[in-house]
């Protein structure tokens, strides 16, 4: 408990000078752009692996936002969250690649539009 109660002080203090000009707004902007690009890519691309990478991009956008907020609020909750997010993203990546391999073995293509038997 002692360690936890002194931990916040470690996060305090001014930003390193190289990042002196960057504010929370800039980090959020980057994260929002990443999220938007991921969303657009997901909707427009038809290659399964690229679609999956787009969802990863969206996950990492959330990660950037979390870390920026964590620094802004001067607590470690956001950083803790990011560790969990990375874990889940890794599990999801394993699952996605397994599914993609499964599909590729059946039809020898990664094109999402070749899998459209179910509709109506």
């Amino acid at each position: 408990m002692n360690l936890l109660s002194i931990a916040p002080t470690l996060a305090q203090g001014p930003m390193p000078t190289e990042m002196g000009g960057a504010t929370l707004f800039h980090y959020l902007l980057v994260s929002a752009i990443m999220f938007g690009l991921g969303l657009i890519g997901f909707v427009t691309r038809r290659n399964l692996i690229i679609m999956f990478l787009c969802t990863e991009l969206m996950f990492q956008a959330a990660g950037i936002a979390l870390i920026a907020f964590s620094r802004f609020h001067l607590n470690h909750t956001g950083e803790t969250f990011v560790i969990f997010v990375l874990t889940v993203a890794a599990a999801e990546a394993a699952l996605a690649l397994a599914l993609v391999v499964l599909l590729f073995r059946r039809k020898e293509t990664l094109d999402a539009s070749s899998w459209q038997d179910l509709k109506g």
Binding site: L4, P8, L39, T55, A62, A65, G78, R106, D117, G120
Partner: protein, 556 residues
């Protein structure tokens, strides 16, 4: 912190059993492999008993929600288990019985049962969530195993296609609500649900919720809409239900949907349903109210209108799953109502009760589909799916026909059945909250829904059985457990309507109001690092721009 662990005995038990099941299913001996299903059942039974005996952690705004979710999960999980029997590995086991050497790599039984239990563990954890991180992990634990279950539920291309569609939209949904959670954290400075509630009520008392937290709430609701199959994220539903085997489909209609609604209740409870006086019905703050209103109206209408056009029963049930989410969103929108409201005034109880009602009836319909097989065009036997396949079922298998009819009429909400008991509170809470237009849309939708539910019931019990050419006959699937599941569900829709089971749901939806601004003391509930940090926003690395968008909101 440690006392929180003691409230988790059911989950821990289930998890330990899951690991055992995962190993036993790989055994070379058939009798050991067969233990998977009984062990899963034992795990669920023990977890259920533990859930009833463990003292829940009653700190949050919804003190009895965890108990409700755990008991419901174990009870429905047991019936689902009956229905999932024989789904994994049936073809492979017959080949092994014919003399092929058993190869653990080609067997899917272990994963199937283990992932089923993992998913249920996730659902139980969802009910217990007291933190956004916890909620995120629980939702993912609920969903990730189901993607695999869809893929291995049947050995045909459509199952793989369904799995991929489900997975990709699932990942999109997860990313969306994760971003929402991140923004909620940004707008309030904590991920603890009670802390968020305190921070947001403080913001509401002093000039409105800040835009970042509000954007976060909106994104969370849209992302979680994937789990409940509500409108912006509903596209996958019919495809996935049709592609996967019936047992897995009925599981998908229960487990992620329940998890989604529990998560929605928890997230919306952080804003609260604000009312002017304790006696009147509260309302969600504005952008959220409109969002849920539009979602509810579109979800019901889209689901029902598209269901009417289907000839595949599974697709029909898929769209009906969308429509039922719309009904439940109406009650969710209405909110918990005044202090100590009964089932007919408390929207949260109505949602929780409807989850039971929907799970039972839906399970019955899918169980009947799972009990019957026919030969598909490529010579393999597959579950029946087309509406004509159940025509005249009454003459050959009267019991299944009645189960089908009773369950589909219960989904419609015909008066003596359980479905009616579930739908009534939804109407009355909607009216009590003053959502007249929405209730009218709900009524119109019930009328549209009557067309396809009655069509199913009529095909099953009123039509004559057509003469089917040789090779296209309907056969019984050699899995008697599924018939039990169907009969239990069919009886459930009749018997549960008489037994007052709704009391559990009423307790579950009990909402602890906190009207006079900040009533929770966040100093006790926040984790230590947050609680001890000084509100040092002046020192925070933020320029004037960030200060304008995020007012210092570290509430304590």
């Amino acid at each position: 912190m440690i006392e929180k662990i003691f409230t988790l005995w059911p989950e821990i038990t289930l998890f330990v059993f899951t690991c055992v099941v995962m190993i036993l299913g790989l055994s070379r001996s058939l009798s050991v492999r067969r233990l998977c299903a009984p062990l899963s059942a034992a795990a669920l039974a023990i977890a259920g008993v533990l859930a009833l005996t463990t003292t829940p952690d009653a700190k949050g705004a919804l003190p009895h929600l965890p108990l409700f979710v755990k008991v419901l999960t174990c009870a429905v999980g047991l019936v689902l288990l009956l229905q999932l029997a024989g789904t994994a590995d049936r073809g492979y086991e017959t080949r092994v019985a014919r003399g092929e050497a058993f190869d653990p790599l080609r067997s899917t039984r272990a994963e199937f049962y283990a992932f089923f239990l993992f998913s249920l563990t996730g659902l139980m954890l969802c009910g217990n969530a007291s933190d956004l991180i916890w909620l995120f992990l629980a939702l993912e634990l609920t969903s990730l195993p189901t993607y695999v279950m869809v893929a291995i539920s049947a050995d045909r291309n459509s199952a793989k296609e369904a799995a991929v569609k489900y997975f990709f939209l699932g990942a999109l949904g997860a990313a969306t609500f994760l971003y929402g959670f991140a923004l909620i954290y940004g707008g309030t400075g904590t991920t603890d649900l009670q802390g968020i509630h305190a921070a947001l009520s403080q913001q509401m008392a002093t000039g409105g919720i800040n835009s970042i937290a509000m954007a976060g709430l909106v994104l969370s609701v849209i992302g979680i809409a994937f789990k409940i199959a509500a409108v912006p994220m509903h596209f996958y539903t019919p495809d996935v239900y049709q592609g996967s085997s019936s047992g897995v489909a009925s599981m998908l209609a229960f487990v992620p949907k329940t998890a989604g609604f529990v998560a929605l209740i928890l997230v919306l409870a952080t804003v609260g349903w604000v009312s002017t006086s304790p006696a009147t019905h509260g309302q969600l703050p504005e952008p959220l109210h409109s969002l849920l209103w539009i979602m509810a109206a579109l979800t019901m209408t889209v689901g029902n209108v598209l269901a009417v056009m289907q000839n595949s029963i599974k697709r029909m049930l898929g769209y009906s799953s969308v429509a039922h989410s719309g009904y439940m969103l109406v009650a969710l929108l209405a909110g918990p109502g005044p202090e100590g409201a009964s089932l007919t005034r408390n929207g949260l109880s109505a949602v929780l009760f409807y989850l039971i009602v929907y799970a039972v009836a839906n399970l019955g319909c899918f169980a009947v589909l799972g009990c019957l097989e026919k030969t598909s065009s490529d010579g393999k036997s597959e579950e029946i799916d087309h509406i004509d396949d159940i025509r005249g079922l009454i003459s050959t298998r009267p019991l299944l026909a009645w189960v089908m009819a009773v369950c589909s009429l219960s989904l419609l909400g015909l008066p003596p059945l359980l479905g009616f008991m579930g739908k009534l509170p939804i109407f009355s809470t909607g009216l009590a909250a003053g959502e007249i237009v929405l209730v009218v849309i709900l009524g119109l939708n019930s009328a549209i829904a009557a067309y396809y539910y009655i069509r199913i019931a009529k095909n099953a019990i009123l039509e004559q059985s057509p003469v089917r050419p040789a090779g296209e006959e309907i056969r019984d699937a050699a899995v008697p457990a599924r018939q039990f599941a169907g009969i239990i569900a069919g009886l459930g829709t009749v018997v549960l309507a008489i037994i007052p089971i709704s009391s559990l749901a009423i307790d579950g939806g009990t909402f602890r109001h906190s009207r006079s601004g900040v009533t929770n003391s966040p100093a006790q509930t926040l984790p230590a690092p947050v609680g001890s940090a000084e509100p040092a926003t002046a020192d925070a690395p933020t320029g004037p721009v960030a200060d304008a968008t995020v007012p210092p909101t570290i509430a304590r």
